[in-house]
Amino acid sequence: MILRPQRLEVEGGARIVYAPNPASPFVSFQGSLPGGVTAERSGEEGVANFLSRLLLSGTRVHTTRQLAEALEGLGATLEFGVSMDAVQFYGRCTKRTAAKVFAIVADCLTSPVIPAKEVERVRAEILTEIEEDRDDTRARAQQELLSSIYPRGHPYGRDPRGDPEQVKAIEPRILLEFHGRLYGRDGLTLAVAGDVDEGLVRIVIEKALGTLPANNARSGPPGDPDPQPPLTRTVDLPHKSQTDIAIGLQAISRGHPDFYALNVANLLFGVIGMYGRLGATVREEKGLAYYSLSRLRAMRHGGHWAIIAGVNPARLAGAMAAISHELDRLNDEPFSEEEIENGKLNQIGGLAVHLDRNAEVADALHEIEFHELGLDFLDRYPGIVKGLTREEIVAAAETHIRKRDCSVAVAGPLRGEVPSL
């Protein structure tokens, strides 16, 4: 047993999980509630992100400056952000300052005032970031890929910030309506690690979260995205030095029965060590790229699998051929028993290694609770991994990583046509 997490359910639907580490001199926390991109209705694109960035911009009892001064005067950190499925918050404080910090967290979540001046500041920041990413080969290739593999308008396929016109159109009224509809205790998940005990959770944190309204509306699932035909998209950015490639397709949700097998397959293909099989070929053997790796994004209502690589423009064809070869190998030369064993050992040994810091523990606990995996998940995980057969892992790769269905996005200096896979 690595950790002994405990759970506390707060009236109104919030859940707190915590894992004490008495030797630690501080507390890390990570929380979420269902106000993510998937909660946006038509016409609200970009609102979830916009609102999350305004949560430190003033409440009914604190101005923007007062919030910053209060937190930093306590030596605390607090940030808000947004994912596809949730609005998130995370930070650090001490047991001594926790009462004040969690009161601020609750205040920010409960009663933001959305000052007009701050709205315009955040709008300018978001528009600048979008412009920067449009000029960033890596960000551009990845966004083009996501919009290719998900149906038009599906939240998983669009920029969570919205497009510039949508960002320009967001008004305080829309932000407040979104907040009123979604921010509450129902579905709130909080993970706390470090110098925490039951007393702190019951007396301080539960009390603070109890101030959130209990009547928020849980977002409905966006629906399983329909499969999309493979596309190739290119963005010519001739002033750049490097071309970025993103290749991928829709995959599976976190709750899918193939998740664990596909996760190991992905690790072996493009993650473990110097980026798995893909890195061994593209980087180590052929010297084509500094990075060439794969990612599995398994979310609540679907997910995707993708390769990303950054290459010299003159070596694009070579990189595409090497990537294509590695995709073919998934069928022609499936993972060997030795590779599978390495992947399993990596996951089992990695449990201890990846729970080194308070923030890592809070992140793991939050994921466990968010996906309702059970408090004994860390105990069960080695057994889950050990129980996977080679056939299951190979089959998961063949089923969910299909070269013929992969879309391709390339951004950077383009020299002729992009070779197909």
């Binding site: 030797a23 501080f26 890390s28 430190l56 923007t64 910053a68 001064e69 937190l71 930093e72 005067g73 306590l74 030596g75 605390a76 950190t77 940030e79 952000g81 930070g91 650090r92 001490t94 315009e120 300018a124 600048t128 970031e129 412009e131 920067e132 449009r134 960033d136 080969t137 890596r138 002033h239 750049k240 030095s241 490097q242 473990i272 060590g273 110097m274 061994a280 180590e284 053997e285 010297g287 084509l288 790229a289 500094y290 950054g310 290459v311 010299n312 070596r315 390495n342 050992l345 990596n346 040994g349 990695g350 449990l351 201890a352 290694v353 080194d356 810091r357 308070n358 923030a359 950077g412």
Partner: protein
Amino acid sequence: MIIRPVPGVPQVSVWVTYRIGSAYERTGTTGSTHWVEHMLFKGGGKLAKGDIDRLISRLGGKFNGFTDKDWTMYYETIPAEHLETALFVEAERMRNASFDPKEFAAERTVVISEREGAENQPEFLVEEELWATAFHLHPYHWLPIGYKQDLEGMGRDEVYEYYLRHYAPNNGILTIVGGVDPEATLALVRRYFGSFRPEMVPRTPPLAEPPQSGERRSEIRRPGPVNYLALGWKIPAWGHEDLPKIVMMSAVLGGWRGYNFFAAGSWEPRANRLYRGLVEAKLATVVKSGFEMRRDPSLFAISATLAPGVDHGEVEKKVDAIVERLHEKPPASTEIERARELIRAWSRYEVDGVEFQGFMISQLEVLNSRDSFPGFLQAVERVTADDIQAAAQRYLTDRTRTVIRYHAEGGS
């Protein structure tokens, strides 16, 4: 060697730090230290190519290497019972890397690719120009990645020679933090490193940078959508008696994110003069400030991403006003107490877990200041408002300032 046992934790983090960074390079071979780092993942001695990856990955471990201006570090964080594997890897890496010519040739395009990926980022171009403009003679003039023409031209033998000269037990620091028994650990260290002999490590100090006696400016013009600005002022080396005052000055101006640059993540300080003057005022969308812990005199730097429609001159003018205010009047006691509290907090956060502790110990040791660091933190606590004002007056002057304007032209 430093062993810090942490009873009861299931991990161990092993760090080896070499007193060799890009500041030891010469023109024509820039980037060689970083290239060596890449080659040291490719086997040699008892390690075949790919063995480091396989050995550590099978344990679920993390591993990597970093090349800095003043040092190079390698680390593995693994389950504590497998400490021996990390020591085996690091011992082979220290003396037996093979530098196979074919591998060296393949890695040339990889390190160039790393540089090209960085060149795609305007912030990298600004940083490179800032250091190149501020330092004319000292090798801080270039960044550890090196120049492309040097990476294209350097030969295997000169890089291998560089490795042989600098990778030796007397030029390295072994740091072990985690759930280990000190005596058993010492025995393992002796087994793997005990037979290594010291080398005659070249100790030619980098060329000293002559005093700067006037503002330096440079402009970058590139296609793109967003403008950037960077300003740097010369500050003394880590270990100078004024550094505690500079720490507090930095915290008052731009907040504090710790001495461990891995620890802060995406957290952004907001209760500070630069954030208020630039971001809250909608002149910039991002502002960052601070300094690196450097062996030689270095820079205190401010960088900003300009808000749409804002001119570089407006932002410079605001920065000037912020600096001038600190020249004229010491900070308020509330500001000082907030800065102190933030620095105290980060001294807890940045040593969370065995990996962060391993990095911090290694960083301080390579700067010869591990033993004195508690005293340094106490000195930071004692810094007064007048000290901060005096530090600003002394170091934030136009005579030692370098300004880089990045002009985005024509949209993307």
